[in-house]
Amino acid sequence: MSPMTTITLPARIDSLPRGLALVVECATAAGFLPQRVMEIELAVEEALANICLYAYPESRGEVEVRCMQGETRHFSIELIDSGIPFDMLARPAPDFTVDAAQRPIGGLGIPLIRALMDNATYHREGAQNILRLTALLPL
């Protein structure tokens, strides 16, 4: 899988529009329909926001947004930061069996990422967190 495009941004919430604009551009170019592009954008926005909020608790840092397309139907977004080891996918999902009115608010971002993407993986490589979100192009 080769990178189509990449951008490196300060890991701050106000960077989100620039990172997401790239994701929308690449997903559209890859051939996804507009509604699916928005779903991919939502998953990436939830993940990027988590990185901006939690990856660098004591310092400032950067996050790289990398759009990749393979020869098969795989379209992936990699979010790469050099913050503390942080696997957001390992966070326990909210307990959906508890009446939602009693459930603590929040924690919905990760379940949305999982539901919206066809695959989501995390690995730590050296000093980097690498979160890969994959969507399959329509046949």
Partner: protein, 125 residues
């Protein structure tokens, strides 16, 4: 992101328009919650028209949960209606079906909340 308010008999119909993302979610909360302070008991029920919400992050659902809880604390009622295609796709993923009452259309929600408001609304169309 914009809110438009329409009071029909004892129903406050709040039309929400635009994208609710990380740059707009705080203003969504700041605009919406004060509009619900007088939604108490039978005197004023709240109906949120979500047909114009083209995109919404998890934080937007959080604001809607805060809103419905605020109304419940006031012995009021708040329902959602006319979810946009994007929200229709996302809603089942939130598992909030026990939190919100959701109606397919504005008239269907009005029928549930207030027959008087429903008849006034259909008369205005």
């Amino acid at each position: 992101m914009e809110l438009q308010i329409e009071d029909i008999a004892n129903v406050r119909l709040i039309h929400i328009e635009g994208r609710i993302d990380h740059t707009t979610v705080q203003s969504f909360q700041d605009l919406l919650l004060p509009k619900l302070t007088d939604c108490t008991g039978e005197t004023k029920k709240a109906l949120l028209d979500l047909s114009g919400v083209s995109y919404m992050i998890s934080g937007g659902w959080r604001v809607l949960v805060l809103a419905v809880r605020q109304c419940q604390r006031q012995q009021g009622e708040m329902v959602l209606a006319a979810l946009s295609p994007f929200l229709q796709k996302i809603y089942p993923m939130t598992h909030f079906d026990t939190v919100f009452k959701v109606f397919a259309t504005i008239p269907a929600a009005l029928e549930h909340l207030s027959p008087t408001a429903a008849s006034l609304y259909s008369g205005a169309e």
